[in-house]
């Protein structure tokens, strides 16, 4: 009998087949799938906003503001899966206190906080004028004392909104966005390095891993921003239609702007999607062609056990189908919304197939392990490393965005234009 105080990590969701070492379990479970997925969304959202700020892609202006603020909302959530995964969550700060620099994970805190600072300062420069305006606007209005107080703090005393000062702000935004691109890529490429550098794991070990991760990160980031943007704009459209009737000019105006933004963003999405798929296919072909010792077991996992996950769900439904949907003529918003949803699913499946697929075979190459994600939790462990934890991680950025957006409105530009 196993005593109740004794907890074997992984026992509840791992089944073994043929020969595996006794200590082998699915140690890195669903939260480690969520970690690169969320980091990817952060990095992708930021790169999208930088396309406007650095490369002057004016057509992305509307989306740029939104994706910048949204990437801030996503940022704390990118660290959440790690916290939920740790067996000793109270020691989560140790990598910052005593970093052991030969480990890829030790850099996480440093890269993550550098990136956080860049995003925060860029947002501050973008919204400084808004903060100052709010401070003046809310003066003397009853009931908004606290709100005004927050805005005063947010200005950090920089109340100058002269032309010259604003020009400086703009310059600072460009610089921040420019520094931010390599840092965002590093943040995510480094997540790929964590996997790619594990020499014990035949599936993970590849120098292409960081690059593949960056490309798919940008894909997922752009897709999420597009999807969220469409949803929010649709919501606005419905609100306008209810208030002023379907045929109202404001409804048509929202629709026109929305389509324009989405068309431009789709172009970038397709470019990165092609790059991501090419690299993944290259990796696959190379493994098959070189046929190292591990290829036998990898082949039986890829073409056998995980065939549906990899070729049907990831490449088929997650990549190829949305690719065709986006390229098909007479693009509609609904089609784009479905395609971006599928792409998000495809990138998630890619993370799944890397993390879980990498543990689907024994290190002995003589057996297999299967992961059964806990759906209904019966203790804290099966909650945080099960469906419950996933849902928590997925809804958190939206809750955060709702709060952050109260102070840095990133969706108001359309109404201003009307």
């Amino acid at each position: 009998m196993i005593e109740p105080s004794v907890y074997v990590h992984g026992l509840e969701w791992t089944t073994k087949e043929l020969f595996t070492y006794p200590n082998e379990f699915i140690t890195w479970s669903i939260q480690i799938v969520m970690y690169p997925y969320m980091t990817g969304l952060v990095a992708g959202a930021f790169v999208l906003s930088s396309l406007y700020h650095v490369f002057g892609q004016k057509d992305l202006k509307d989306l740029a503001r939104f994706s910048l603020v949204f990437s801030l909302a996503l940022l704390p959530v990118a660290a959440m899966p790690l916290l939920l995964h740790l067996q000793q969550p109270l020691r989560a700060m140790h990598p910052l206190f005593t970093p052991h620099f030969t480990s890829a994970i030790s850099a996480f805190g440093i890269v993550f906080s550098t990136y956080g600072l860049i995003v925060l300062s860029e947002i501050w420069f973008v919204y400084r004028k808004h903060f100052v305006d709010q401070v003046h606007e809310l003066k003397g209005i009853k009931g908004s004392k606290l709100k005004r107080m927050i805005f005063i703090i947010l200005t950090m005393g920089a109340m100058d909104i002269s032309e010259a000062a604003l020009a400086k702000d703009k310059k600072a935004v460009t610089i921040m966005a420019a520094i931010g691109i390599p840092v965002a890529c590093f943040l995510h490429g480094y997540a790929g390095f964590i996997f790619g550098s594990v020499k014990a794991n035949a599936l993970w070990m590849s120098p292409l891993m960081p690059v593949i991760f960056i490309m798919s990160a940008v894909v997922s980031g752009i897709a999420l921003c597009m999807l969220t943007y469409i949803l929010i704009m649709e919501f606005k459209k419905i609100k306008a239609a209810i208030a002023r009737g379907m045929g109202d000019t404001s409804v048509q105006a929202i629709k026109g702007i929305e389509m324009e933004v989405i068309t431009k963003a789709t172009r970038y999405l397709i470019i990165f999607l092609v790059a991501a798929i090419s690299l993944e296919i290259l990796d696959l072909i190379f493994r098959g062609y070189t046929a190292m010792k591990s290829w036998d077991i990898l082949r039986s996992v890829m073409y056998g056990k995980d065939f549906v996950d990899i070729f049907m769900l990831q490449y088929g439904i997650g990549n190829l189908l949305p690719f065709i949907m986006l390229l098909w003529p007479k693009r509609t918003l609904r089609r784009v919304a479905i395609a971006t949803t599928l792409i998000l699913f495809g990138v998630f499946m890619m993370r799944w197939n890397v993390v879980i697929g990498g543990q689907a075979f024994s290190l002995s190459f003589a057996g297999f392990m299967h992961y059964h994600m806990p759906i209904i939790p019966h203790n804290w462990e099966t909650f945080k490393e099960g469906l419950g934890g996933v849902i928590l991680v997925i809804i958190s950025p939206y809750a955060l965005f709702w709060v952050i957006n109260k102070f840095t409105p990133s969706l108001g530009t359309v109404e201003e234009k009307i």
Binding site: N23, T102, I105, A366
Partner: protein, 256 residues
Amino acid sequence: MKCSRRNFLKKSLSGAVAAGLPLAAFKFLSPREAHAAVKEANLRWAFIVDTRKCVGCGLCVKACKKENEIPYDVPLTRTWIERYIVTKDGKTTIDTPKGGRDGFTSKKVRGEEIPDDQITKAFFVPKLCNQCDNPACVQVCPVGATYQTADGVTLVDRKWCIGCGYCIMACPYGARFFHPVYRVAEKCTFCYHRIKKGMKTACVDACPFGARQIGNIKDINDPVAHTILTERVAVLKDEYGTKPQVFYLGLDERVR
């Protein structure tokens, strides 16, 4: 002189260079090098497993579990025994029920019995942490909670391990796991608490056939070192560059 930004940066830079130059004149020693230069430079623990002597009784696994307080009935163990059965069709069947703790008393492998006349060879392979010279687990620990001692044993600091599992993923031998009670990374320590006092490890003491031996590879008069130097020994998975220090006698190429 005016303290302008340009001046400040200039001075700081030249100051840093001036301070850095004399420092560069010193040779930086890693803690291990420094330690080796002072004492215990001629001690490095190594292990020999003679697979030809192992009968798969499981006494070593039992002894290890008790000595190192790994709950007896959990499917985790610091050391284990694998059974290899090679049949006439060239297939290899491997199993390790309960890590071989209760011995291999049944001919059944995962519920199926292989007929005796089909078997061409069969043998047992005890496994434990290889106490690598270049341990992948130590390299990937983000907080330095797992470390290598001067005499070559890799240990885990239970008070500092954050439980990320990176070392478990990095070990090619599957030697590591989460301790079911302490919830931190756990592994074979060569019974460091015993060998430090001049005793043998629990598994070595428990083995009735002398299939396991521990000794100092740097001492030429040590029987273990002597065997490693004079016999034909092999290590597990040397392609990973981990430089394992558990040496096997009579290792079959089918052993994973």
